[in-house]
Symmetry: C2
Subunit: 141 residues, 2 copies
């Protein structure tokens, strides 16, 4: 019932004691408003459109800093590129549309439960996991 449920990346940066610079504002903004999971180059391109002159090394460094502080997640899909997504609030898995390259999130408690079960059977406990479904849109004609 507080107003803090949809916390912005910027807020979380503050909480982590990171300095809020002009570049960071833009980077965080771009990162947050991205529907897709962008890679560094994409980020840099979008950031530069808003605020030219931001060095790509800064984007790299910012991504690393954010990741260290747990504010973003780093993903490496089969296409090899390292991509980012803001804040692991709730856990979810990914559809990757092989035609468009779009990444869509989904959740399945059932699958999560099965994973636990299988791990236990093998004498493991799960630290984390990743499930990626490479998909094509179903055509209804």
């Amino acid at each position: 019932m507080t107003g803090s449920e949809r916390q912005t990346l910027l807020d979380r940066c503050r909480q982590s004691g990171l300095r809020i610079t002009g570049q960071r504002r833009v980077i965080l903004d771009v990162l947050e408003s991205a529907t897709d999971h962008p890679d560094v180059e994409e980020l840099h391109r979008k950031v530069s459109a808003i605020e030219p002159g931001v060095n790509i090394a800064t984007v790299y460094r910012t991504m690393n800093t954010l990741a260290e502080h747990g504010l973003i997640e780093r993903h490496t899909f089969e296409d090899g590129r390292t991509r980012f997504e803001p804040a692991p609030t709730d856990h979810h898995d990914h559809f990757i549309d092989v035609d468009t390259g779009k990444v869509i999130e989904f959740v399945s408690d059932e699958i999560e439960r099965l994973q636990e079960e299988i791990a236990r059977k093998h004498g493991f406990e799960i630290v984390s996991h990743r499930l990626e479904l490479y998909v094509k849109r179903l055509r209804s004609d």
Copy 2:
């Protein structure tokens, strides 16, 4: 009931019309006898132990050739390194032991089925997928 069920990588290379060179013999051998999923550097190290003087570019090239011919699979786990595993005979998913780095394979028809179901619900059909469980050994004390 023929004798062809456990086909060696070498055989499959021959079938694909690849030349069998001294280096390749060794590389295939190392690849096949590896329980873990090695990356290029690991492969090169092991190969060099048997047959010194094999250039790492050759290992890279061989991996690419094998992958093109579908004789090995390329994986990129969260640790970022590109790793290989011989022959995608049956489909399976991976446990990655976060302590040891070991990769263990497993299968779950149930999970596979759930995946199909979820994809369908979202209007997708699955082209391929990857499920990785990052795990720790359960301690029984």
